[in-house]
């Protein structure tokens, strides 16, 4: 296996090198083009505009002053194309004279709609947005970072693109954000979108080895400062060419590049400091004093001297001052420049955050270099190398009855004590008090290398080739340490000290070839035929060891422990896919695309055929038609588009095999290798098939000051991979996976941009996004409904993972009888059916910018498991203990009949039922509106900077806040958090709410 795979890798690498060999030296008959791109309204230079020299591979980016330069341009007539997000694309023609320099100025006008923008994702070859039949959203990361308190990629996408739903799962810094694009459609497979960096597929999703309900996130490794833009492919209609794994969408990160063609150099420095504050007050814990506790000999300071039954309360978190003010600091430096035929971008970033709970820190260091080399007009080579180190320490908390919140919110005030060395002292769990929880250390140290090598080869003006080779290699070192203690802090052997260590590596290699043949047929017709191959290989290894029982905490290495256990694993998955796409354009305003991708994947069943993914779509810039002219006074730009396509989601490695599971057996006191039945397997297992239609329009109104993007989509996932239940009496450890069932997601997405005021001294921009989502399980393939998530179920006709409970039918407050359904009934949505966001940005005198972002999620439920536990399991809530705190009706609704000997609830058929199946009161509407971000940014006037002898070219100061205010009826801490890592839970269980963050940032450019 290794020989063959190595050989193939060598062949691929040599192939790439062959193509990169410069054919010849620079052509002799060349000249130089220099120029400047300026804003039509302000006459100021526009930085970061993309300049392409058509018919060549030449491409560059404008400097901070808007300047650019192409050397070695062929003599003759040349066409320059200019693109910039937020501006209307433009082009200009220049005449290049051999040995001379030609200068031009290109003027761009701001526009909220831009059909000429080029997208690189979701299509074969760079395509103008106008020709794209399905939406590929583009986000300018640099523009967002300029004002928002952004320190990870998820922040960058927050409320930017309708249809992308992000939920920060915990207020713990460094923990994961759940991303869903156009809903969830897989039950057993990931619903996370695929991630690409400059064409290289990287490891995505949450890291295995969570800390209770908190998860580490691979996405956090990327430094948002390194990102030029992010393109989001939302669904199968646009993602077909990404193959049998892309049904949950694709996020492509495009990093900042250098400036070839101009001898430039600039540096920028970002310095940021900030704080994080917990704004939530944890509830008190209650208890009723017993006779022993009120006695004069009692050591309980709350009960001693009181009467029996006296209601006491305690708040361990506040009592010990467990919350702290978190802090954040960011230092980012980058240098961008280039010469005649090369460009580069170098960056360094460090991001440090301390969370509001003890032992929660996040430190990230990034170094990235992008180098591009243009040996001649036919060839460009881009090489990128990103290095990352992330060190995350997560508090012992979240979905953990013994962590910070568990210990405090489930703590019993009756255990408060003044006795020296007293045990729980108001905290829950064995003897786990503040010192015990504070001693636990959970850390993940990750090192990551993401590298890419891309060659664009243009042997003929109508024939382009792109070769991409890259790798994402990461290594995790995770440790979970519980120090030895002389008491019973944790219970069991762990009191003797425990050190769990895990090392993981994840390697993902990408090779991608794309050829493109472009032909014009007469004046009206153009064809664009693309073909290619994508190969991706992924390997994951893990090795872990745990040592329990230490002599001393000073020596806590695993090998020093009295009991050592270990484990390890290895998985490998490979896929390759061929793709082809034909695009036919008519008069550059009517386009039709047809395409297909054919995939093979090592995880398909042995008898499963290759996976064929077709697509078809059309785009019509109707506003460019003659008959539309009368309307252009109001509707300047209008494009209609429709697309249909398919993608898939491949099963995991080994999922199709009939397996045994390793299971040792004992003979005497010796363990031997044994085995038990694993999975019956399924030789015909194939990917889930997502088929999507989307249609919509892009419009620019009133001189393009208003732009609207409206899209309707309907995505059907068939061949859903479900565990087909077999009788447990067959003895298998797990059920075989089968392609049965289907899910539908559909909705409407609207993006609106309005330049409400565009005056010389005042500019007011409004951006709004809204999307609906209808998610429905339409078939289970005949199998019985099963539990999905913490309190969800698969019910046909309902959302995937809809909340269920035995619903209360009636409450008789006289007889104290609460009657409930006999069967589990749907109680509400897991996924919001409506999300919207609204951003207002006001710019005064070109220098002062104020921005506010409000967003909302509607019509979904949250399982308030914290309240459930405090009221019904470990009773600490005054709502339960204080019999006067709630009405009789509400007490019955929440707890049922508490009369000793009476069933809490009674079903319609007369059977008794417990509160574990009647959770009406604890599934609450989670609807919220949040003031997510507020910022003010001031760019120092040029006149001030001139006094600094032009050392500093630009400077700005930004004050920004995040998570300022939430309006919600949810009774828990935060409706956004989630204590479960599984896709189908929204459970608030002892989870830290999102903290308020305030930052002050200075940006300097030299």
């Amino acid at each position: 296996m290794s020989y063959q795979s190595s050989l193939k890798r060598v062949i691929l690498f040599v192939a790439a090198l062959l193509i990169m060999l410069p054919a010849r030296a620079l052509l002799a008959q060349t000249g130089t083009i220099t120029g400047k791109v300026v804003d039509g309204a302000t006459s100021q230079g526009i930085p970061d505009a993309r300049i392409v020299l058509r018919g060549t591979t030449f491409e560059t980016i404008t400097s901070r002053d808007g300047e650019f330069r192409f050397s070695a341009a062929r003599a003759g007539t040349a066409i320059i194309g200019v693109f910039r997000l937020g501006y209307k694309a433009t082009s200009d023609t220049v005449k290049v004279t051999a040995g001379q320099t030609t200068t031009l100025t290109v003027t761009m006008t701001q526009s909220t709609v831009n059909l000429s923008q080029v997208v690189v994702t979701g299509t074969a070859g760079n395509q103008e947005r106008k020709a794209q039949s399905a939406v590929v959203a583009s986000v300018s990361a640099a523009d967002i970072i300029a004002t928002a308190p952004v320190n990870n990629v998820a922040n960058t996408l927050q409320s930017q693109v309708p249809g992308i739903s992000l939920s920060a799962q915990s207020g713990t810094v460094g923990s994961a954000t759940m991303i869903r694009i156009r809903g969830a459609s897989s039950v057993n497979l990931s619903n996370e979108p695929l991630l690409f960096v400059d064409g290289i597929r990287i490891n995505e999703g949450q890291v295995s080895g969570s800390v209770n309900g908190q998860n580490y996130d691979r996405l956090n490794d990327i430094n948002p400062e390194d990102i030029e833009s992010i393109e989001v492919v939302k669904g199968p209609a646009a993602a077909t060419l990404y193959g049998a794994d892309a049904s949950a969408g694709v996020i492509q990160i495009i990093t900042k590049k250098g400036h070839a063609g101009a001898s430039t150099f600039s540096q920028s420095l970002r310095v940021e400091g900030g704080s994080l504050q917990n704004t939530w007050t944890p509830p008190d814990q209650y208890g009723l004093c017993t006779a022993a506790l009120v006695a004069s000999t009692s050591t309980n300071p709350l009960c001693v001297g009181q009467v029996v039954g006296f209601l006491i309360h305690d708040n361990p978190l506040l009592r010990v001052g467990a919350f702290r003010n978190g802090a954040s600091s960011v230092i980012g430096w980058s240098a961008r420049g280039g010469g005649q035929n090369y460009g580069y971008n170098l960056s360094y970033g460090q991001d440090k955050e301390n969370g509001v709970l003890p032992n929660n820190n996040y430190n990230r260091y990034n170094v990235r270099s992008n180098f591009n080399y243009v040996p001649n007009t036919k060839l460009t080579i881009d090489a990128g190398l990103g290095l990352n180190q992330s060190d995350t320490r997560l508090s012992d908390n979240d979905n953990n009855t013994n962590g910070w919140f568990g210990g405090a919110l489930l703590g019993n005030p009756l255990t408060r004590t003044t006795a020296p060395g007293g045990q729980n002292d108001g905290w829950y769990g064995f003897n786990r008090h503040y010192n015990a929880i504070n001693s636990l250390d959970h850390e993940l140290l990750s090192h990551r290398v993401i590298t890419n090598l891309t060659a664009n080869y243009l042997p003929l003006p109508w024939f382009s080739n792109r070769f991409t080779l890259g790798m994402d290699f990461l290594q995790d070192q995770q440790s979970n340490i519980a120090p030895k203690n002389d008491s019973t802090w944790y219970g069991g052997l762990t009191d003797g000290g425990s050190n769990g260590q895990a090392e993981r590596t994840a390697e993902r290699y990408t090779f991608d070839y794309l050829g493109n043949l472009k032909n014009e047929w007469g004046k009206s017709w153009e064809t664009n035929f693309s073909f290619g191959l994508q190969v991706i290989s992924t390997r994951n290894t893990s090795l872990n060891a745990t040592g329990i029982g230490l002599v001393t905490n000073a020596n806590n290495s695993v090998s020093s422990a009295s009991t050592i256990t270990g484990g390890g694993g290895f998985t490998e998955q490979r896929l390759f896919g061929y793709l082809a796409q034909l695009q036919i354009g008519n008069e550059n305003k009517r386009f039709v695309q047809i395409g297909v991708r054919i995939d093979k994947n090592s995880s398909f069943g042995a008898q499963a055929p290759a996976f064929v993914l077709p697509k078809v779509g059309g785009s019509w810039a109707i506003s460019e038609e003659k008959f539309f002219d009368p309307l252009t006074k109001y509707v300047n730009t209008l494009r209609l588009r429709a697309s249909w396509g398919t993608t898939g989601r491949s099963p995991g490695p080994g999922a199709a095999l009939t397996t045994l599971s390793a299971a040792p057996y004992l003979t005497g006191t010796t363990e031997f290798a044994g085995a038990v039945l694993g999975n019956p397997g399924n030789a015909t297992l194939k990917p889930e098939r997502g088929t999507e239609f989307e249609g919509g329009l892009d419009a620019g109104l009133w001189h393009n000051r208003v732009s609207a993007e409206v899209t309707y989509f309907t995505k059907t996932t068939n061949d859903l991979i479900l565990a087909n239940p077999i009788p447990p009496s067959l003895g298998f450890s797990s059920n075989p996976l089968a392609n049965i069932g289907s899910v539908v997601n559909n909705g409407v997405e609207i993006a609106l941009n309005v330049a409400a005021i565009d005056k010389r001294s005042v500019r007011w921009d409004i951006r709004a996004g809204i999307n609906t989502l209808h998610n429905e399980l339409t078939s289970l393939g005949g199998i019985a409904p099963f539990a999905l998530g913490a309190q969800g179920r698969t019910l046909v006709g309902q959302q995937l993972g809809v909340y269920v409970s035995k619903k209360i039918v009636s409450i008789d407050t006289v007889l104290r009888k609460v009657t409930v359904n006999d069967t589990l009934a749907p109680m509400g949505n897991l996924w919001p059916t409506l999300e919207w966001n609204f951003t207002n940005t006001v710019t005064l005198f070109k220098n002062l910018r104020l921005s506010a972002l409000v967003d909302a999620k509607k019509n979904f439920m949250v399982q308030n498991f914290t309240a459930y536990f405090r009221e019904t399991q470990l009773v600490r809530s005054n709502l339960r203990i204080d019999t006067l705190a709630l009405s009789q009706y509400e007490r019955l609704r929440r707890f049922g009949d508490l009369t000793p000997g009476h069933p809490a609830f009674v079903t319609l058929s007369g059977k008794s039922e417990t509160v574990s199946n009647v959770v009406d009161a604890y599934i609450e509407p989670g609807d919220f509106v949040k003031l997510r971000e507020l910022s003010v940014s001031y760019t120092l006037p040029s006149s001030w900077l001139r006094q600094l002898r032009q050392t500093v070219q630009s400077a700005s100061v930004t004050l920004a806040m995040q998570n300022l205010k939430t309006w919600t009826n949810y009774s828990g801490a935060d409706p956004e958090v989630n204590a479960q890592s599984g896709a189908f839970s929204r459970q608030d269980f002892l989870t830290l709410p999102n903290a308020r963050k305030t930052i002050l940032r200075v940006n300097l450019t030299f």
């Binding site: 042997p459 069991g492 896929l575 009939t658 397996t659 044994g674 003895g731």
Partner: protein, 419 residues
């Protein structure tokens, strides 16, 4: 120019052929190994019979721990100091058929034990009349089926039809006979030991079905001093499979608390009072947490078969009050208890016999079957309708055995629907 075009196109095509051809020429590109799972095709079942038979025995050992603990909660040996509502349902004997603990902790492990034994028994193995793997698999299939019969109200094996308790006991009888015959014929210490354990299993099965003569005959086959233990070991990696479950749930989870009726000081039921231990119950019990101290380590063995149990079976099956009183006297004396001073009628003596039996086999998974066999003679079981010892739950229910899990009858087309 023509040369340029030709060179460019040729070069591009050559590279394209290379990159297209490399994976396309070899479907082996997508042929990977995944050592995380064991491809069943790579294990030869015949040469691997010893591995499979021993694995089946360990499957039973793991299930035995689970069933002993849940049986203790159900039959009043222990109080549920666990927060899981599904475990409390065992405490107040009102177990829903969708109870997750019933499925994953009880039904699945014992069915795995039964099914994994059957794999060995279905093989065509050499020297089948003396093959130790057959003796082992048959004996432990017998015990697995016996426990299903004892604890569940009905059963099913390998996705088959619904079986009544009597049918299950007859099935167990068959496999005990096979195990005993092959074990004896094997003649090794291991084989004979398995044969003796099978004899005890046979006696239990016949007693439970009401075949007292058969039980007496089988009990007589168990030699004096015989003990067969299920072995465990501290193994944190394979804790659920290798470690003593009851100790795990006492020490790690603080879930097993000795019920009041067994807090008598009898040395057969050692325990700690709350004052004697730093352990705190995972869930509060009104009278405090009294952790068991019979099994004191992850590696504590649990007795499966013994001559002592054969004596109890013989005493019960004989229906001889005198024989029963003799055994009662011996057991009391051996455990520093005063002589029996209760009534001498048959019912009272049977009650005392069952009480002594419950002390002797405390936390060994016997009492639930005892209760089903002698419901009016079994002590320390809360009657139906009694108040459960923890608030917020229903009164004690009427169940005397576990229901068939929903997952089984809803997926097993041969079962015939909900029982």
């Amino acid at each position: 120019m023509n040369n340029t075009i030709r060179r460019a196109v040729t070069r591009t095509i050559a590279v394209a052929v290379l990159v297209f051809g490399a994976p396309a020429c070899s479907n082996k590109f997508v042929d990977v190994t995944n050592p995380n799972v064991i491809d069943a095709a790579t294990v030869d079942p015949t040469s691997g019979a010893t591995l499979l038979a021993n694995s089946a025995q360990q499957n039973f050992a793991a299930a035995y721990g689970w069933l002993s603990m849940y049986g203790a909660w159900f039959s009043g040996e222990a109080d549920v100091a666990d927060t899981f509502p599904t475990r409390n349902e065992f405490g107040f004997r009102l177990i829903a058929d969708v109870n997750g603990s019933l499925l994953t902790d009880v039904w699945n492990p014992i069915q795995l034990a039964a099914a994994s034994s059957k794999i060995v028994l279905d093989l065509t193995l050499p020297t089948p009349t003396t093959n130790i793997n057959i003796a082992r698999a048959a004996t432990f299939r017998g015990f697995a089926v016996l426990l299903i019969a004892n604890d569940f109200c009905a059963g099913s094996l390998s996705g088959g039809a619904k079986l009544t308790t009597a049918q299950l006991l007859d099935t167990a009888t068959f496999w005990f006979n096979t195990g005993r015959t092959v074990g004896l014929a094997n003649g090794t210490v291991d084989g004979v030991s398995l044969a003796n354990a099978a004899a005890l299993g046979l006696a239990r099965a016949r007693l439970q079905i009401g075949d007292n003569a058969g039980a007496l005959a089988a009990a007589a086959l168990v030699p004096a001093g015989f003990v067969y233990n299920m072995l465990y070991l501290q193994d944190l990696t394979n804790a659920n499979r290798i470690e003593n479950k009851i100790w795990q749930y006492t020490f790690d989870r603080s879930s097993v608390s000795v019920a009041a009726g067994y807090q008598t000081g009898d040395p057969r039921v050692p325990f700690f009072t709350p004052a004697q231990t730093a352990l705190r119950g995972q869930d509060a019990l009104p009278n405090g947490f009294f952790p068991q101290n019979k099994f004191t380590a992850y590696g504590s063995a649990i007795r499966l078969a013994s001559r002592l149990e054969a004596d109890y079976i013989a005493a019960e099956a004989s229906a001889s009050t005198a024989q029963r009183l003799t055994l009662i006297a011996a057991r009391r004396a051996a455990n520093n208890q005063p002589a029996y001073a209760g009534a001498g009628d048959a019912a009272s003596v049977l009650t005392e016999l069952m009480l002594q039996r419950s002390f002797d086999f405390y936390l060994e998974g016997r009492k639930l079957a005892d209760y089903r066999r002698n419901p009016s003679s079994t002590s320390n079981i809360k009657p139906a309708g009694a108040t459960y010892y923890k608030p917020g739950y229903a009164n004690v229910g009427t169940q005397t055995c576990y229901p068939i899990p929903y997952q089984e009858y809803s997926t097993n087309k041969n079962f015939g629907g909900q029982p």
